[in-house]
Symmetry: C2
Subunit: 218 residues, 2 copies
């Protein structure tokens, strides 16, 4: 449990208590961790794997609001129902807390609530960045920003291969994250490869011309 960044707020005894209310869950590829509008009875902390966070419209259009990577938390808002769905992009391992117990625990640990608030504030910043991307960037800029973001996020995760930008999610997920179609995502990435800006490799891409991406990214 000590690897959980949120646990910096807790002392040794509290950590032990938190361990007691946690259990590990495993989700196969494509499995739904939880669904939009369902009762939010758990708090998750991803240990391994990648999940997509989705909001859907009645007619089937979807917006991927984010990708959860190892270390990320889901459900810290403590609202009664989920406001988005989460699905495993790869097999996912998550540390799971019963919401009621986690909440009772948080009520007794002001420092934990403060940490949760910091996490929420960070997520809000990310969301605002993404609004700029969705509202004002071109398809090429959106892809560049996305790839730079993924490079940054993977680099913070222990055990990643530097240089490789893993893209375990499919083109459709990337399209739904960037407000584009799958065809546009495919075209832009392949054009970048033709222009020697990147190379497509199994399970991801590698930057060839980092300057190009830094200049385009948000």
């Amino acid at each position: 449990m000590r690897h959980l960044s949120i646990c910096q707020a807790l002392d040794a005894e509290e950590l032990t208590q938190l361990e007691d209310i946690a259990s590990d869950s495993v989700f196969d590829e494509r499995v739904v961790l939880f669904h939009e509008e369902d009762e939010a009875s758990s708090v998750f902390n991803l240990t391994a794997g990648v999940a997509r966070l989705i909001r859907s419209l009645p007619d089937g259009r979807r917006q991927v609001t984010g990708f959860a990577l190892p270390g990320d938390f889901l459900g810290l808002s403590l609202e009664k129902t989920w406001r988005y769905s989460a699905e495993a992009v790869t097999p996912v391992v998550a540390c799971r807390f019963r919401r009621s117990v986690f909440e009772a625990f948080a009520d007794k640990n002001p420092q934990l609530i403060k940490k949760m608030h910091e996490f929420a504030s960070h997520d809000l910043n990310m969301a605002q960045d993404h609004m700029v991307l969705l509202g004002r960037l071109t398809a090429e800029e959106k892809l560049a920003s996305f790839l730079v973001e993924m490079k940054k996020r993977w680099s913070r995760i222990a055990g990643h291969e530097p240089g490789l930008i893993r893209l375990p999610m499919g083109r459709q997920d990337i399209a739904d994250y960037l407000g584009l179609t799958i065809e546009t995502v495919s075209r832009v990435i392949n054009q970048m490869q033709r222009d020697r800006k990147l190379v497509i490799v199994p399970d991801g891409i590698r930057f060839v011309d980092q300057n190009y991406f830094d200049a385009l990214a948000l």
Copy 2:
């Protein structure tokens, strides 16, 4: 101060303390309350007026990430620097707290931090809604969603005229909020008027066909 929703978390004595660290500020139309990347030395609670929240790109493109209405808080994330700018759309009156004092106060009032976290969670939901709007809605749907949102928000504010949807912000602000151009905003609104879906009135619009908007809005 008692009208501040966040103060529900405090008892009478605490409220008095909070009053002691607050002061009212007035901002004329177009005046900048604070600027992206400046040190965040204040927390604001809008008492009157409307402000636009803006993220800018180096080349001048802008994304309005939200509009602050009376009752709204700015700066509850308690991060060191502002991540967006706020400008008065109309003359604004805001209750202002020195950040350092507010933060020290919050540290002694766990219930206040919890309330701040609820506010941040709510903002995050709004931001995710807006991502769907920006990424997946048509121009017509964006305008309908925006107008329905403004109607809902004004209806929660005491002293509003029911039926009138006030739009104190200019067409350019609406365009930058919805990820459109000013011409498209103008065209869509005026087309809606020609189609008898709404009427344009001084300082805002009125719905004629509420069903039309409910069907289109997110």
